[in-house]
C-alpha cells in the first residue's frame, strides 16, 4: 500500500494529540476508577490509533495498541478491576506508542522495537478468560468519524465484517466528531428530503400512490422523486417503478429495524457482565436517534413543521439541490432511471447507516428501547397513509424486525459500494452521483469540529508576523508623516487613523494566532507528578489555575523545560513524604499549585508548594562547601539572597540525588533559560511552610516595548524589560551625589552606590571626549537610565531620553553578531535604523557586571574572590599614609563616603561618625598600618576624610583612607606575603606593588565584637 505522507503525518499528529489526552484521562481515571465515561474515552483513543494504524499498515503499532485496547475493553466491561499497575502499564503504552510514532515521523517506518515486555504486561493484566469479546473486538477496525480521511472509513467499512458487537462499540462511544457528523447527516437528510419534496410538490403529476411511498423512509425519497418526475414525463412507467420502489423500501426498512434489533442483541450478549442499564440505555439512545431521524425525515417530507427538522437551513440548502436534481433529470435517459434509483437508494442507505452508527444523546427523551423501536417502525409504516401521525401506535409490529434475521450485515457491506459504482456509471449519472456526493459532503465539512480549526504551518505564521511587523513600521512612518504635515486634509488624517486602528488590530490578531494556552505545557505535569509521587512514596495533589492563559508559541516552547524542571524539583525536593508531613502537622497530601495570569504585559507563572521550604542554613553550608560563595560573604547574605543561591550554577542541596532531580544542573539553567527570553524568576520560601517560585515572562518576543535614547546624536533602543527607572541629575546634585574615582562614577541612589556608565564612552562613539563629559556634568543635567541585568543595577548615562516605542526586533547580520553590546536592530518610525542595546553586554563591557564563567547567570555576589575561576575582579585602590597602595576588593565595599573633620566624634575613645541614623565606628587604616599609638588623629573641621564603608551583617564599619585612587578590574595575583597584619599579601596592580587588605583580620583586631555575629569559622579565616 502506498500512502500519502500527508495522511501519515496527519495520523501522527492526531495520534500524539490523542496520547496526550490519554495521559490526562488515565490520571483522571486513577482518581475516579469507576468513571465509565473516562474509560470509554481512553478506550476510544487507543481504539482510534489502532484502527488507523491498521489501515496504514503499521503492524507493531497496531499490535501493541491492540493489546492495550483489549485490556481497556476488559476494564470497560468490568472484567478487570482498575489498579495502579494497569494505569502504569497503560501510561507506558502511551509512551511506547509515542516513541514509535516518533520513529515513524523520522524514518517513515516503525523501527524494530517490539515492546515485548509491555505487551506481556498488558496481556498479563488482562483477564485471560475474556476471550470471546476480544476476538470480536479484534476484527473491529475503527468505524468512527474521528478518523481523518474519508476514504479510509469507506475502505474500512468495506473490508470489515460487521458484527453486532462492533455496532455496539460504535454506539457506545459517542464522540463529538461522531455526534457532529450524525447531526450533519441528519440535517442533510432533512434538507434533501425537503428539497425533494418541494421539487415534487411543484410537479403537477404527483399521484396518490406516490404518497404512500413518500413518507416511508429516507432512502425512498430520491427514488420517489425520480418516480415523480418520471411519472410527469412518462405516466405509463409510473406504476411499475412505483411498486419497485415500494418493495425496496420495505426491504430497507426491515433491514434497518433488524440492525437495531441486532445491536440490542449484541449489547445484551456482550455486556452481560455489565450492569443492566448500560446496554439498555445505549440501545434506547440508538433507537431514539433512529426514531428521531426517521421522523424528522418523514416530517420534512410531508411538510409538517417540526423543530428537529430545522426548516430554515433546510430551505436554504434545498435550492441548489433542486437545481441539481432538475439538471440530472433533464440530462438523464429514461432507462437509466432504474440504475439511478438504486444508486440513490444505496447512498441513502449509507447515510442512514452513518446516522445509525452514531449517537445523539442530547436530542431525545428516553423511552424503553423496545417501544422506541416499534414506534420507529410504526411511524415509518403508518406515515404514508396517515401523514399527520407522529405519536406512536406502539402496539403493532415489534416482530417485524425480528422476523428477518439476516439483513443486518447487508447494508454495511454494500454501503461503501455505491460511490464507486456511481462513478463508473455513464456520464450524466456519474455527474449526478458526484454532485450528490458533493452536496452530502459540503455541509459536513463546513462545521464538524475537526474543520472548525485549521492546522497552519508555524513558518507561515512567522512570516505573517514579520509582515505585520513591517506594516506596523510603515504605519508608524505614516503617522509621523501626518504629524509633521499638519495641513494635510482631514480625509487623509482620518484614513491614517483608520489605518492605525486596523494595523493595531491586525497585529493583535496575528499575535493571537501564535498564542497557545499554557495548558499545552501544563498538561503533562499531572503525569510527571504522579510518577514522582509514586517513585518517592509521596502523596501530591496538583492544582492548576489559569490554564487558559495564552502565551506566544516560541515562549511556550522556551519555558517548557524550565517549568518542567521546577515542577519536578518542587515535587521531589519540596514536598515531604506523608509521614514527615504528618509529624509536622500538615495534611499527608502535599499540594502543588500552578497558576498563570496576565499582569501588565507580562505573564506571571507561580509554582507554589506547601512542602518543606528552603533551608537557608543548609543552602549556606552547601554553597560554601561547593565554593559557590565564600563563607564570609555567605554570612553577610540576607535570607532572600541565600534562597536565591539555588539559582547559582552547580548548586544542588538534595542530600540524595534521585533519578528525578538533584544532579546539580538545574535551577541555574532554569534561570538562564527564562532570562534568555526576557523573563525573570524569583523565589520566596519559608522553612516548613512552602516555597513559591514566581516566573515573569513577556507575552511575545517579536515586538517589544523599548525606551528610545540618544547619545552622540545616535538613537538606541533599550528594551523595557531591563529598565528600572529614569533619573535626571541636575545642578548641585551632580557634584554632591556623584562620586568620581578615576573615571568610575557612582551615583548615590537612595543611599546605595549606583555605578554610572556613559553609553557614549562604552560605545566609543567618535564625539566622545572625557572633557565633553566633564562639561556636560558641570553645565547641565545628566540623564541616567537605571537598568538592571543579571540582578545587577547600574545607571546608563545618555544625552537624551525619548519616548517608549513598540519595536520589532530584527537580528543583526553575521558581521555584527560578535558585538556584545547590541541585541539587534529595529526600524524606527522615520524609517531609520536604530540599534537595540544589550544591557547585559554593556554591563559586562563596563565591568559593572562580572563576566565570570562566561555565563550570564553569575552575579558578583557569587564570585568567590579567593577561588574564583576567572579571578579578575573589581578592586578599589586607595592610598594609605604617604605611599602605601592598598587594594580592596570592591565587592566588600558597601559605599564610599566623605566626611568633614567636624563630623567625626569620639565615643569611648574611638572615632565614630553619625551615619544614616546610626553610629559608624571608624578605623584609620593609616594608623593601623603605621602602628601609631592610637588612631587619634585629629582632623580639622574642614578636612575631608575619605571613608570606605564596610558592612558586616547588620552593622557597618568605616575605614579611613588617605586617598581613593582608582577602581581597576584586574586579576589579583598575590605574589608576596610578608606576614604583615591586616594584609593578605602584595600584588602588582597597575604595574605598582599594592598591598591587599585583609579586612577580616583588621576587624578582628580592632572591632572583634563586630564579628561576633558571624560564624566562628569565619573568624578563623585568617
Amino acid at each position: 500500500m502506498s500512502f500519502d505522507n500527508e495522511l501519515i503525518s496527519e495520523f501522527i499528529i492526531e495520534s500524539l494529540e490523542g496520547l496526550d489526552r490519554l495521559d490526562e484521562e488515565l490520571l483522571k481515571l486513577e482518581n475516579n476508577p469507576t468513571d465509565t465515561g473516562t474509560i470509554n474515552s481512553i478506550f476510544r483513543i487507543v481504539h482510534t490509533i489502532k484502527g488507523t494504524c491498521g489501515f496504514l499498515d503499521f503492524k507493531i503499532l497496531e499490535s501493541i495498541s491492540h493489546k492495550g485496547e483489549n485490556l481497556l475493553d476488559s476494564l470497560r466491561a468490568g472484567r478487570v478491576g482498575f489498579s495502579t499497575e494497569i494505569a502504569t502499564s497503560l501510561l507506558n503504552l502511551g509512551d511506547a506508542l509515542r516513541s514509535i510514532l516518533g520513529t515513524i515521523e523520522e524514518t517513515g517506518s516503525e523501527g524494530d522495537e517490539l515492546y515485548e515486555e509491555l505487551v506481556n504486561t498488558l496481556i498479563a493484566l488482562n483477564d485471560p478468560n475474556a476471550t470471546p469479546k476480544e476476538s470480536a473486538q479484534e476484527e473491529q477496525p475503527a468505524p468512527q468519524a474521528e478518523e481523518p480521511p474519508q476514504e479510509e472509513e469507506t475502505v474500512q467499512a468495506a473490508t470489515q465484517e460487521s458484527s453486532p458487537s462492533e455496532e455496539h462499540a460504535t454506539e457506545e462511544e459517542p464522540s463529538p466528531g461522531v455526534e457532529e457528523q450524525s447531526e450533519e447527516v441528519n440535517q442533510l437528510l432533512a434538507d434533501i428530503n425537503k428539497g425533494l419534496d418541494k421539487h415534487r410538490s411543484g410537479d403537477a403529476a404527483v399521484s396518490p400512490t406516490e404518497d404512500s411511498a413518500d413518507g416511508e423512509s429516507s432512502e425512498d425519497l430520491l427514488a420517489n422523486l425520480f418516480d415523480g418526475d418520471a411519472s410527469a414525463e412518462e405516466d405509463t412507467d409510473e406504476s411499475s417503478s412505483e411498486s419497485q420502489a415500494d418493495s425496496t423500501d420495505i426491504e430497507q426498512l426491515l433491514a434497518q429495524g433488524q440492525a437495531e434489533q441486532a445491536t440490542q442483541e449484541g449489547d445484551s450478549e456482550n455486556e452481560s457482565t455489565e450492569t443492566e442499564e448500560t446496554p439498555l440505555e445505549a440501545a434506547s439512545e440508538e433507537a431514539d436517534i433512529t426514531n428521531h431521524d426517521l421522523i424528522a425525515e418523514v416530517l420534512g417530507d410531508s411538510s409538517i413543521p417540526w423543530a428537529g427538522g430545522e426548516p430554515e437551513t433546510a430551505e436554504e440548502a434545498s435550492t441548489p439541490q433542486e437545481a441539481q436534481q432538475k439538471e440530472v433529470q433533464e440530462a438523464k435517459a429514461e432507462q437509466e432511471q432504474e440504475q439511478e434509483q438504486e444508486q440513490e437508494q444505496e447512498q441513502e442507505q449509507e447515510q442512514e447507516q452513518e446516522s445509525l452508527s452514531s449517537d445523539e444523546p442530547g436530542q431525545q427523551e428516553s423511552k424503553p428501547p423496545s417501544e422506541e423501536e416499534t414506534v420507529t417502525v410504526e411511524a415509518k409504516r403508518e406515515e404514508p397513509s396517515q401523514k399527520e401521525v407522529v405519536e406512536p401506535q406502539a402496539s403493532a409490529q415489534p416482530e417485524t424486525p425480528a422476523a428477518q434475521p439476516t439483513p443486518t450485515p447487508e447494508p454495511k457491506s454494500t454501503a461503501p459500494e455505491p460511490k464507486s459504482t456511481a462513478m463508473s456509471q455513464s456520464a450524466p449519472v456519474d455527474q449526478a452521483a458526484q454532485k450528490l456526493v458533493k452536496s452530502e459532503n459540503a455541509p459536513l465539512s463546513k462545521s464538524s469540529i475537526a474543520d472548525s480549526s485549521l492546522r497552519v504551518d508555524v513558518e507561515l505564521l512567522d512570516s505573517l508576523m514579520n509582515l505585520v511587523g513591517e506594516l506596523v513600521l510603515a504605519r508608524n512612518q505614516i503617522l509621523q508623516f501626518t504629524k509633521m504635515n499638519s495641513e494635510t486634509n482631514a480625509n487623509f488624517t482620518n484614513t491614517c487613523q483608520r489605518l492605525n486602528l486596523i494595523t493595531s488590530e491586525l497585529q493583535e490578531g496575528v499575535m493571537k494566532t501564535r498564542m497557545q494556552p499554557i495548558a499545552n505545557v501544563w498538561n503533562k505535569f499531572p503525569r510527571i507528578i504522579r510518577d514522582i509521587a509514586r517513585a518517592c512514596g509521596k502523596e501530591i495533589k496538583l492544582e492548576m489555575e489559569g490554564k487558559d492563559t495564552d502565551l506566544d508559541k516560541t515562549i511556550l516552547e522556551a519555558i517548557k523545560d524550565p517549568l518542567t524542571h521546577i515542577v519536578r524539583n518542587a515535587a521531589d525536593h519540596g514536598i515531604e513524604t506523608p509521614d514527615v508531613r504528618e509529624e509536622n502537622g500538615k495534611p499527608r497530601e502535599g499540594t502543588l499549585l500552578l497558576s498563570a495570569f496576565h499582569e501588565g504585559g507580562h505573564v506571571i507563572i507561580e509554582i507554589v508548594d506547601n512542602g518543606a521550604g528552603l533551608n537557608t542554613e543548609r543552602i549556606k553550608e552547601k554553597a560554601i562547601e561547593k565554593g559557590v560563595v565564600s563563607s564570609e560573604k555567605a554570612a553577610r547574605m540576607s535570607e532572600q539572597d541565600l534562597q536565591r543561591l539555588i539559582f547559582a550554577p552547580g548548586f544542588s542541596t538534595a542530600e540524595q540525588v534521585t533519578n528525578i532531580s538533584g544532579r546539580g544542573v538545574g535551577m541555574d539553567v532554569v534561570r538562564s533559560n527564562i532570562e534568555k527570553i526576557g523573563g525573570s524568576v524569583d523565589i520566596q520560601s519559608q522553612l516548613g511552610v512552602g516555597t513559591t517560585l514566581k516566573i515573569k515572562i513577556p507575552l511575545t518576543l517579536a515586538i517589544v516595548p523599548a525606551l528610545m535614547v540618544s547619545t552622540a546624536d545616535q538613537r538606541f533602543a533599550i528594551p523595557q524589560v531591563s529598565l528600572l527607572e529614569l533619573l535626571r541629575i541636575e545642578g548641585d546634585k551632580i557634584d554632591t551625589q556623584i562620586e568620581e574615582i578615576h573615571g568610575s562614577l557612582f551615583y548615590r541612589l537612595r543611599g546605595d552606590l549606583l555605578p554610572l556608565v556613559y553609553l557614549s564612552h562604552e560605545l566609543q562613539m567618535e564625539h566622545y571626549t572625557r572633557e565633553d563629559e566633564q562639561e556636560k556634568k558641570k553645565d547641565r543635567a545628566i540623564n541616567v537610565v537605571v537598568v538592571k541585568a543579571d540582578e545587577k543595577e547600574f545607571g546608563l548615562v545618555v544625552d537624551v531620553v525619548h519616548d517608549t516605542e513598540e519595536i520589532v526586533v530584527k537580528p543583526l547580520g553575521r558581521q555584527l553578531k560578535n558585538i556584545e553590546v547590541f541585541a539587534g536592530a529595529t526600524i524606527l518610525g522615520d524609517g531609520k535604523v536604530a540599534l537595540i542595546l544589550d544591557i547585559l553586554g554593556i554591563g559586562k563591557k563596563a565591568h559593572v557586571i562580572n563576566d565570570v564563567n562566561d555565563s550570564s547567570d553569575h552575579t558578583d555576589e557569587l564570585t568567590d574572590e579567593e577561588h574564583g575561576n576567572d579571578d579578575r575582579e573589581s578592586l578599589l585602590l586607595v592610598r594609605i599614609g604617604e605611599s602605601q597602595r592598598l587594594a580592596i576588593p570592591l565587592v566588600k565595599v558597601d559605599r564610599l563616603e566623605e566626611f568633614t573633620g567636624s563630623a567625626i566624634e569620639q565615643a569611648s575613645g574611638r572615632m565614630v561618625v553619625q551615619y544614616r541614623g546610626g553610629i559608624l565606628p571608624l578605623i584609620n587604616l593609616s594608623s593601623f598600618f603605621n602602628r601609631e599609638e592610637k588612631q587619634q588623629h585629629i582632623y580639622a573641621d574642614d578636612d575631608l576624610v575619605n571613608v570606605i564603608v564596610f558592612r558586616c551583617g547588620e552593622r557597618a564599619v568605616g575605614f579611613i583612607v588617605g586617598q581613593i585612587l582608582d577602581i581597576v578590574y584586574e586579576s589579583l595575583n598575590i605574589q608576596y606575603s610578608q606576614g604583615k597584619e591586616g594584609v593578605l599579601g602584595s600584588a602588582v596592580v597597575q604595574e605598582k606593588i599594592t598591598d591587599v587588605l585583609d579586612s577580616n583580620a583588621v576587624l578582628q583586631m580592632l572591632e572583634p565584637q563586630l564579628l561576633e555575629d558571624t560564624q566562628s569559622q569565619h573568624q578563623g579565616a585568617q
Partner: protein, 164 residues
C-alpha cells in the same frame, strides 16, 4: 549590449565576445580604479546611497546599517574592505545589494558599471600582480579589452568578521 555601455568606456568592446558558448553575466562596479564583477544572479538590486546608522564597536569596514524596505542590511565599504584609500567625502557611494546564501548584504562601491557578458575563454586565474588585499577577494579575472574584470568572491568579501 551595446546600448547598455554608457558608463564604462573601457569595456566598449566586450559585447562582441558574446558569440562564445560559455557565457556569464556580471554586474560590474568600480572600486577605486578596480573593475569588479558579481554574477548577476547574486545581485538583488542596486540603490543609491542611503543614510546609514553607524554601528559603534564594529569593524571599520562596516559602514553601517540601511533600511531596505523593512529589512535591515549591513553595508560594507568596499574601499576599506580592499584596503584602498578613503573616497572623497563629496563622492557618495552606491549600494550593490548582493544575496549570498541566505544573507543579504550591501557593498558600497564608487560607481556602477554595466552588466557585461563574458565568455569562459576570457577567464584566467587571478594574476599574482594584483595587490594582495584585493587578490584574496577575487575568484578570477576576465580579460576584457584593455581592462581586467575581477570576479568578486562574495563569500569572502562579506566575511568581515574573520578578517578582523
Amino acid at each position: 549590449m551595446q546600448s547598455e555601455e554608457t558608463v564604462m568606456t573601457s569595456t566598449e568592446d566586450s559585447g562582441r565576445d558574446s558569440s562564445t558558448h560559455l557565457q556569464a553575466q556580471f554586474a560590474t562596479f568600480l572600486v577605486g580604479d578596480l573593475l569588479f564583477g558579481v554574477d548577476v544572479m547574486q545581485v538583488q538590486e542596486i540603490i543609491r546611497y542611503q543614510e546609514m546608522t553607524p554601528v559603534p564597536q564594529s569593524s571599520p569596514m562596516i559602514e553601517g546599517l540601511i533600511n531596505l524596505r523593512g529589512q535591515i542590511i549591513t553595508a560594507i565599504d568596499m574601499r576599506r574592505r580592499l584596503g584602498l584609500e578613503e573616497r572623497d567625502a563629496d563622492h557618495l557611494p552606491m549600494n550593490v545589494v548582493v544575496r549570498h546564501e541566505d544573507e543579504v548584504i550591501s557593498l558600497l562601491v564608487d560607481e556602477i558599471g554595466d552588466v557585461l557578458e563574458v565568455s569562459a575563454s576570457q577567464f584566467e586565474q587571478t594574476p599574482d600582480t594584483i595587490e594582495a588585499r584585493s587578490r584574496e577577494l577575487v575568484e578570477g579575472v576576465y580579460k576584457l579589452d584593455g581592462k581586467l574584470l575581477l570576479v568578486l568572491d562574495c563569500a569572502r568579501a562579506t566575511d568581515v568578521e574573520v578578517v578582523e
